[in-house]
Symmetry: C2
Subunit: 499 residues, 2 copies
């Protein structure tokens, strides 16, 4: 029997989780099925759930439970870790008042709707007001949370404990030049033909194909499902209810295929969290960076590799015979790994992807410090794309309106796509060393060993370790961007036959 | 500007509504999309939302607001009515403690899952334990709420204010014999051929057809949607978000067609409630009986009538040419109105339907009084069907496991299907008198005048009037079963050419 106070703490936390997960379901519904006319009612419903769960979390009742349990030697290790993390969260959440939580939630709901409209009509001005409000709220949040050097630090830390501008400036600074050099060497070569990707692939056949890839890597439909949405995402309401969404473009095979593997990576993580820790910190993911390491690992290290397609390509070709007629496995691999500066992040290759992230990082940093204003975003965005990759968006829809994140109030999220990719490369190298025979298993379509390894190395620990602690435990060193550079160098040397 | 205390009351009520509607969305999701493996987590999430909204509702804060506002002459009529109804609800809800609310919610979630399983496997024993728990909880609820003569009265009153065993015994007693007589006269005639209903109708074509019927009567897809579920139902999370569900059987045209019109009737009511009364009593439906009057009116008075099909049948025949080839309009009308004793309530004709209801009523009454136990249900059910209609279910799936209601903890709901039908007939006669030209409008596919009339006569008032008050206002007399008898007599005399 657990300590009676711990039992009380657990029950309280689980009730709070019930409210949080309910809010998440309302949001999932908003992005998948909700009739458009109900945006206002939904906004207030989500706000009430957020506010209510916040009020319960910062209640004196939970506070005094946490204080009395903290450091109690009668608790097990796991229990102590939960208390330690909850106390940390509690002290952080105490800095917000209910009105702020409600306002932020309502502003996000409104912003999401206006972002959708702005994107559809390619009219940034429709989103500008809400985004301005959100940036103001995020600045306020940074002050509430506190930071040492840069207001953005407070938000980065929320997505990846310990992350800050100083470190990220260094990390991004460290990869930018090597990636640019690699890019230049690649662009000197004849580009592979990737026109087959944009041929016609029917909706239903793509849907079936994506669902097959998703379930083949281990996504369990008894405890999960896939739906359509404007922007693919993964959300979970319990380890027994994990939902991914995707989008299908009949003139683009890539969208669906790699979004299923990407969201699938997120989803496997959520399905692998310890079910008995429902509502407690150890039942949550370690960080956004670790989450992205899972999605990018399956999407790229696995899903853009030769071995994977050695098995899956014949099946793909059979399903879409007309569009893939005459495209051999090598042509296919070169095509899906074609490197080229581009406008849309989610469709970018593994190399230039990081330029997309760096641009968003630089913009968020300046928005938070006040160096630029929301009205400056479109111009600044286009300038950065021109400078960084030599491409200029013809409109804001393909520019600064392409991503959903800001409309969700997510600032500080984007950098984790890059750090997650770095961690993915680091884990991948380690895993291949431990499982020397995996390449041949993968060529036979068996990914089970990778999932088992991730389950026991990453998933099962929940939030017990930080990103760096996990990296150290698994690979013997903290996050090291060198692995990503090495992985990309090797990959493109092979594909582009670089010298 | 409203009274500041009223403003406070309104805000509090709307927050409670946010929680209630969120719980409803979780339940909708459970019956439409939720992965099967998450039943346990969902049960606790719904229970937490129910408990939290209950706690807010019975809080001293709301209580003292209600007491200080009650009878305040500074309030408008509408405001006074809201306060009066809320105070009534408050005093009733105060009788429940949180633990009871949570337990009831959790038991219902479990019962729903076990009912589904029991029905699938045709094994009543899988549902028996939960149903026994539910009946015990419902008895407890009846004691908490209080009643004068019969414990069932307390639950009947929850579905239709003022309804009780004494009145219903009289109402059902009054229609049983006339209906039996009519039935006997009908069964002496040659039964019309209705075999076309069970021909093959493809899923997608039925779906499109149902959605057309639904939107043609005025269901607005900007503020509503339709999905699939085991058992069709309507639920609303705001007047701007009303959801209906249906089921499609490829070997039965009837299921889909009349479920769309039935749920459509419910949904039009919900979409027609005053939006500015969100979360307040006047933003809610008058009663379950009035709700059923809306669904039964569209399903039967409109949707099984000659004029409606005069317009729609050619279109239906075009869409399902193969199955309806050679079936003329008159054959169709006779077929869809064929009267025969049967096993499944939702597929019953308008006449024998009421025997199905009376049987459930008699069972619920005896369960609540303790005259029978849950274990007796299958036997008692079959006996009643044999006695009442001369048919015996070959299994419990087509017998006592057919309806979802008990698994939702709904006891006292079934009688409103009959009283709702009575009210529908009463409203229908009145409406046809007021709108003498409607028959010809209907023959041209125009139902708009009926919707406008229901909007202004019923929908707009929300919970302002009881069932009987509404009937009186609209038709000059309280609910009178005579109209249903007259409607059925006239209808079947025509169809069966009775003398």
């Amino acid at each position: 029997m657990p300590h009676p106070l711990y039992q009380e703490y657990k029950e309280q936390m689980q009730r709070i989780a019930d409210l949080r997960f309910s809010a998440a379901l309302l949001q999932w519904d908003q992005e998948t099925y909700m009739p458009a006319g109900s945006a206002a009612a939904r906004a207030r419903q989500v706000a009430t759930l957020s506010e209510t769960s916040h009020q319960l979390f910062v209640s004196d009742k939970l506070g005094s439970l946490l204080h009395s349990l903290h450091g109690n030697p009668q608790l097990t290790d796991t229990e102590q870790k939960n208390i330690e993390l909850s106390l940390d969260d509690y002290q952080k959440q105490k800095k917000y008042d209910s009105a702020f939580v409600r306002l932020l939630s309502e502003t996000c709901s409104r912003a999401f709707n206006h972002w959708q409209e702005a994107r559809k009509k390619d009219d940034f001005s429709l989103f500008e007001k809400d985004l301005t409000d959100l940036v103001a709220l995020k600045k306020q949040e940074a002050s509430l949370l506190g930071y040492e050097s840069h207001p953005y630090d407070a938000l980065l830390n929320e997505h990846d404990r310990g992350s800050n501008v100083a470190t990220l400036d260094q990390v991004f600074g460290g990869i930018e030049e090597p990636l640019k050099n690699l890019l230049h060497r690649i662009l000197e070569k004849e580009p592979p033909d990737d026109s087959f990707i944009k041929k016609h692939y029917t909706h239903q056949a793509q849907w079936d194909w994506g669902l097959k890839l998703l379930t083949d890597i281990g996504f369990d439909l008894k405890t999960g499902r896939q739906d359509l949405s404007t922007h693919p995402f993964t959300v979970s309401f319990a380890t027994t209810d994990v939902r991914v969404t995707t989008r299908v473009d009949e003139n683009d095979l890539g969208n669906m295929t790699w979004s299923c593997l990407h969201e699938g990576g997120h989803a496997l993580y959520e399905q692998g969290l310890p079910e008995d820790q429902y509502g407690l910190p150890l039942g949550e993911a370690a960080s956004f960076a670790v989450h992205e390491s899972q999605s990018r690992l399956w999407e790229n290290c696995v899903g853009r590799g030769r071995e994977y397609w050695f098995f899956y390509y014949p099946e793909l070709q059979k399903r879409f015979a007309e569009s893939l007629n005459g495209v051999g496995l090598d042509d296919f691999l070169c095509g899906i790994n074609r490197v080229q500066p581009s406008l849309i992040r989610t469709e970018a290759d593994e190399l230039t992807y990081h330029f997309h992230i760096i641009i968003r990082y630089e913009i968020e940093k300046r928005l938070l410090s006040g160096d630029i204003q929301v009205a400056d975003i479109p111009g600044f965005w286009n300038e950065m794309y021109k400078k960084g990759m030599g491409v200029v968006p013809p409109n804001n829809r393909e520019g600064c309106l392409q991503d959903v994140h800001w409309s969700h109030g997510s600032f500080g999220y984007f950098p984790t796509y890059s750090t997650g990719s770095m961690m993915a490369a680091q884990l991948w190298e380690r895993f291949l060393k431990e499982e020397a025979g995996f390449a041949s298993e993968l060529s036979a379509g068996n990914t089970g060993k990778l999932l088992s390894w991730l389950r026991k190395s990453v998933h099962i620990f929940g939030r017990r370790f930080t990103t760096n602690e996990l990296c150290s435990r698994i690979t013997g060193e903290t996050l090291n961007p060198g692995y990503l550079l090495k992985y990309l160098e090797e990959k493109y040397t092979r594909i582009y036959q670089l010298s």
